[in-house]
């Protein structure tokens, strides 16, 4: 399996670590916002534990630990293993630098 790291180019998947589904968003909550703790717990339960586990194209996190240490967001088909796209996570080093105009 080959992953096209936007910073390093195409590399063997052995250089990368997989985290999983990139769709769930970490819930945000106000510390003293008065939101019911039950509701916040439910939202976190959903975020931490429940998965769509799609058979088809899914967005997912990969970490290029054997290379540039960037977190990447890939679209990949879990049935064929085919990658559709690989982009840098919002805060990946060069992405941030690019935004800052460096």
């Amino acid at each position: 399996m080959r992953i096209a790291c936007p910073f390093c180019g195409e590399r063997e998947n052995g250089e990368f670590t997989y985290l999983g589904d990139a769709t769930p968003r970490r819930p945000s909550f106000a510390v003293d916002g008065g939101e019911g703790p039950e509701r916040v717990e439910d939202a976190f339960y959903d975020y931490v534990y429940l998965r769509d586990n799609v058979a088809g194209v899914m967005r997912e996190y990969w970490y290029h630990g054997g290379g540039c240490r960037s977190w990447l967001v890939a679209e990949r088909n879990t049935v064929t293993h085919e990658f559709i796209s690989v982009t840098a996570a919002p805060g990946a080093g060069a992405a941030l630098a690019a935004r800052a105009g460096e």
Binding site: E41, V48, Y61, G65, R69, W71, G91, A92
Partner: protein, 1017 residues
């Protein structure tokens, strides 16, 4: 760009040259033909099979040499131990398997048909006792009426305990084939990468055409061929291409390919796997054709080939026909007969019968007659044969019989006669010493089906052709079901040109080579029904009646058939048997072959040595070794090292006269507690955290606050996973307003860095913070003991104030060392003593160790290892790996109060779940055996005193233990249910594994200096 040279196809070793000079004569080669063949008669080679010495020539395979020597019997089958000979001339061989070489290089199940002959080759037959000719295990044939498919599922059940003691050992001994070596493999293996535009798999006429077209067009081409020579069937069947002899065409084509700098030819290389993203795996047999690999050379090499396009021209495999006695030594595939005669000048038989249901088989007539042997009969069940065949019949006038072979007589000495039955059921016997069989050709669809592609049935050739090939792969030639030479050349050329164009090659691929499109007519004949055993899978002894039995019992799916009968599960993976098996199943079921379907094709295409996959990663090189900056210094001090992940760490420093590790460790602890000692802690993960939001960032990843930490201060931090369980701990210091220095445990350095990067890049990209792993940049030493300050004052520039006021407990800042090096100094303590940790650039690590020894000499400075470090942390009740076990919460560790309520942090919400905050959780406590002489052991369990051990009374376990020099007894930490409420309770330590049971007291985990006076001193 190729090591392949057509002009010198044989690697001639010194031994061969010597033989030529000695003029060894091949007296034993009774079946060697005078004609040419592609062998080097100037290079006779001596080899032994089952202890008998014979000779062959360079260019021979072991199988062709055995044929030349008139050897018929080569092996015994798996189940019935029936005598078996050589069926094929390729890697599909099911029968002629031998143990190659001896001793540590003994290699079971090697196909004689692909093993190149070399001088001094030693091979032995396998799966027989006491000898190949007289194999007592062939008694199994008497039980054949019972030993049908799946018989073992129906018996061996009574009495139950006999399975492990009687039945199974008997079955295990009888099963298996060859014996593997019992000594470590002395050879080396390599793994390499290669990249190309177009990968061509198989160098027969189609593959050569494809490689040439793509190469001429300018693509980077890799051509792999499992044989030692290029040419495929051209080497055996010849023909005419572009008006010249096929061998001449082969020479000129090879010459051109070799001359193209963008074409790489890899012979002796079998492509065995197709993986994702255009990754192909191939095995190069570098040294299997020589007695032992040359010095510094590997035996085999795995290639991971990254190709934009591939053209699979892997040819086709001739299939047997299932009839009674079709497994006798001397029954051989017709194409193999031609290979042995034409390529190797070795004659499988002198009176050859041919049994074929297709035109291609008829080629054998010409081959045999030209070789000066005799075709005793051609048996063809078809009513009509093509003009081609009729021409052959006219030219050579063989006896042609319309019918089928219904039985073969023979034994260990080969075939003696065959029975031919015509359509009216009349049978006649014909004397023959060899029966050539052709049931048609199966395109090699394996590689194209490795991504679950379903092959497609083609009625006209009665075979499956590729369907649903992986992205980027094309198939051409015989592998695609195009069996004529002309079509192979055209298709190969077209596929090569197309692949090159798709890769953007702009050059011209040239014209396709031309040859006749000879007719290939076939009338399927799968099974000649009869009384005797008719074999479908030769190696596994699966017969036609096994297949129909499976059908009767409901194992109709091809996968059930395979699993119930073991059809196709032998070392050849059913290359010669699967299609016949499923055809017989289809007939029994009254279904069509395509409806019946094939089993799933799995890599590897040909079996690959496990050692090759491992490459150099074995023994001490299994994984990398990380050495601390002071490693060599510590080694010089005689340190004993321990593996901690990839690191080697000094565990203790034995001194002469010390009886055991405990005495050394105790000395080291006492030296620290009473004086001063130091320990290399460079293995801790170190991360530089910089940026305006560094403090905010750390607030989110730690349970406690770091934005409030003053510059010049250090703080212990605890990190949770998002599920609320403790992930890691460590000390983080603030070196400047926007600069923190974070440390992790040794074990978690990698995962924590990954987690921090995830938080930074994914969860909180809006924060202005950068992370730099600095683990390898800093050598870090812990210096501990009452004399630490005095020692440091000798090292640190006098301008730096190291007094309690100038550098208080939990202080952290850069200091200048005498001599000018800048170091980072942290006043933190794991041991509970007055202690500092000092960081210097890693290149000064060894020098630092030496300087610590010099500066500390007046105070008796003692280097200490990880054991003493562990003892002191247990005495102080500090938690570490055994307590941070991935299931404990901050509160379980006694650190619940650190959890800030004023901020969001990773894990905060999930940590609040009911079961994680339940009052009966197991929490960290101290444990002391009541009998002070008792040794406490980790992993022992905690049971209430007086209770009977059982799942209901199992209340926890001992996590960490040490002999405490300060308390003079063994102590430990443990995780115990409601432990903190139970201080002072006497509990039972239950350790059935080590047969120990004793009382212990639950106590505070802080055994030594509970007020923490010493570290502040």
């Amino acid at each position: 760009m190729s090591g392949y040279s057509q002009s010198e196809p044989f690697a001639r070793t010194a031994a061969m040259e010597a033989n030529v000079r000695k003029g060894v004569t091949p007296a034993s080669q009774s079946h060697r033909l005078p004609g040419d063949g592609i062998i080097d008669r100037r290079s006779p080679l001596r080899f032994s099979f089952d202890g008998k010495t014979m000779t062959g020539f360079a260019g021979d395979t072991l199988a062709s040499a055995l044929v030349a020597n008139g050897v018929k019997l080569v092996g015994r089958s798996f189940k019935y131990h029936r005598p078996r000979g050589i069926l094929t001339a390729g890697s599909e061989e099911p029968s002629a398997l031998v143990e190659m070489r001896t001793g540590a290089r003994r290699e079971p199940n090697t196909r004689a048909t692909t093993q190149e002959l070399f001088d001094g080759l030693i091979a032995n037959s396998q799966n027989r006792w006491p000898s190949l000719r007289r194999d007592l295990m062939s008694i199994n044939q008497l039980f054949a009426p019972i030993f049908v498919a799946g018989f073992y599922y129906k018996t061996f059940m009574w009495p139950a305990k006999f399975w492990e003691s009687i039945y199974e050992p008997m079955i295990r001994r009888a099963a298996g084939l060859g014996k593997s070596a019992e000594l470590p493999d002395p050879d080396h293996y390599d793994k390499a990468w290669a990249h190309c535009d177009v990968l061509v798999v198989g160098a027969g006429p189609a593959g050569l055409s494809a490689a040439l077209a793509a190469g001429r067009a300018g693509s980077r081409v890799i051509l792999v061929e499992e044989d030692s020579l290029l040419g495929g069937r051209l080497l055996s069947d010849g023909g005419e291409i572009n008006g010249m002899d096929a061998r001449e065409w082969l020479r000129s084509t090879t010459r051109e390919l070799v001359s193209l700098p963008n074409v790489r030819i890899m012979n002796r290389t079998v492509l065995f796997g197709v993986y994702d993203g255009g990754t192909y795996a191939a095995l190069e047999r570098v040294s299997d054709n020589v007695p032992t690999p040359d010095h510094h050379q590997v035996r085999q090499r795995i290639w991971r080939i990254i190709a934009k396009r591939s053209v699979v021209t892997a040819g086709a495999i001739e299939r047997p026909i299932v009839f009674s006695g079709n497994d006798r030594p001397g029954v051989m595939m017709a194409s193999a007969v031609r290979t042995y005669v034409n390529r190797f000048a070795a004659l499988p038989g002198k009176r050859v019968a041919l049994f074929t249901n297709n035109d291609d088989g008829w080629r054998t007539v010409e081959t045999i007659q030209r070789a000066g042997a005799h075709i005793v009969a051609v048996i063809d069940p078809r009513r009509e044969v093509s003009a081609q065949c009729r021409r052959l019949a006219d030219t050579y006038d063989p006896r042609v019989l319309a019918g089928v072979v219904s039985d073969v007589k023979g034994g260990v000495d080969g075939v003696s006669s065959i029975a031919v039955t015509d359509k009216n059921g009349r049978t006649q016997r014909i004397d023959a010493d060899c029966l050539a069989v052709s049931g048609g050709w199966n395109p090699n669809v394996g590689l194209s089906c490795f991504h679950r592609g379903k092959p497609i049935w083609r009625e006209d050739i009665a075979a499956f052709v590729p369907g649903g090939a992986p992205k980027g792969m094309a198939t051409a030639g015989a592998a695609n079901g195009e069996l004529s030479l002309g079509a192979c050349l055209r298709e190969g050329h077209g596929a090569g040109a197309k692949a090159a164009a798709e890769c953007g090659a702009a050059g011209k691929p040239g014209e396709a080579s031309m040859a006749d499109d000879e007719v290939y007519a076939i009338k399927p004949l799968w099974h000649v029904k009869g009384k005797g055993k008719a074999f479908v899978d030769f190696q596994h002894d699966v017969t036609a009646s096994d297949v129909t039995l499976a059908q009767r019992e409901g194992f109709e799916s091809v996968e059930h058939l395979k699993r119930y009968t073991t059809l196709g599960m032998a070392t050849d993976q059913g290359k010669t048997s699967n299609i016949n098996g499923l055809a017989i199943m289809a007939e029994a079921n009254g279904r069509t072959i395509p409806d019946t379907g094939t089993t799933i094709y799995r890599p590897p295409y040909a079996p690959v040595a496990i050692g090759a996959f491992a490459g150099h990663h074995r023994d001490e090189n299994f994984h990398a070794t990380r050495l601390t900056p002071s490693h060599h210094w510590a080694a010089g001090q005689g340190a004993v090292f321990v593996d901690t992940g990839l690191w080697k760490r000094a565990q203790w420093y034995p001194r002469t006269g010390e009886r055991d590790w405990l005495e050394s460790v105790t000395r080291e602890v006492l030296a620290v507690r009473n004086g001063v000692g130091f320990c290399d802690v460079s293995t801790l993960g170190k991360v530089d955290v910089r940026g305006a939001d560094a403090g905010v960032f750390l607030d989110r990843v730690y349970i406690n606050a770091f934005s409030s930490l003053a510059v010049g201060k250090a703080r212990y931090g605890l990190m949770l996973r998002e599920d609320g369980i403790v992930m890691d701990d460590g000390t983080t210091s603030r070196l400047a307003e926007d600069h923190y220095f974070l440390t992790t445990t040794t074990a978690k350095a990698g995962p924590v860095m990954q987690h921090l990067e995830f938080c930074r890049q994914v969860l909180f990209p809006e924060l202005d913070v950068q992370l730099t792993s600095a683990t390898d940049q800093w050598a870090q030493f812990s210096i501990a003991g009452p004399n630490t300050r005095k020692l440091l004052q000798a090292l640190v520039d006098p301008s730096d104030d190291l007094t309690n006021e100038g550098f208080p407990f939990m202080g952290a800042r850069e200091v200048k060392l005498r001599g000018g090096v800048t170091a980072r100094l942290f006043r933190i303590s794991f041991s509970g003593e007055m202690a500092f940790e000092i960081s210097v650039p890693a290149r000064y690590g060894a020098a630092m160790a030496e300087n610590l020894m010099i500066a500390g000499k007046p105070y008796g400075v003692t280097p200490y290892g990880t054991e003493a470090l562990g003892v002191m942390r247990i005495e102080k009740g500090h938690v570490a790996g055994p307590e941070l076990n991935g299931t404990t919460t901050a509160d379980d560790l006694g650190l619940g109060k650190m959890m800030s309520k004023k901020k969001d942090f990773i894990g905060r919400i999930m940590a609040g779940r009911e079961a994680l905050t339940a009052p009966n959780r197991q929490v960290v406590v101290g444990i002391k055996p009541v009998d002070r002489a008792r040794r406490l052991r980790s992993g022992a369990h905690v049971i209430p005193k007086g209770a009977i051990p059982g799942p209901q009374t199992d209340q926890g376990y001992v996590t960490s233990v040490c002999f405490s020099p300060m308390l003079g007894q063994w102590i430990g930490l443990g995780l115990v249910e409601r432990g903190r409420e139970r201080t002072g309770e006497i509990i039972r330590i239950h350790d059935p594994l080590r047969n120990e049971d004793y009382d212990a007291e639950i106590c505070s985990p802080v055994f030594y200096d509970p007020e923490g006076v010493r570290q502040r001193g």
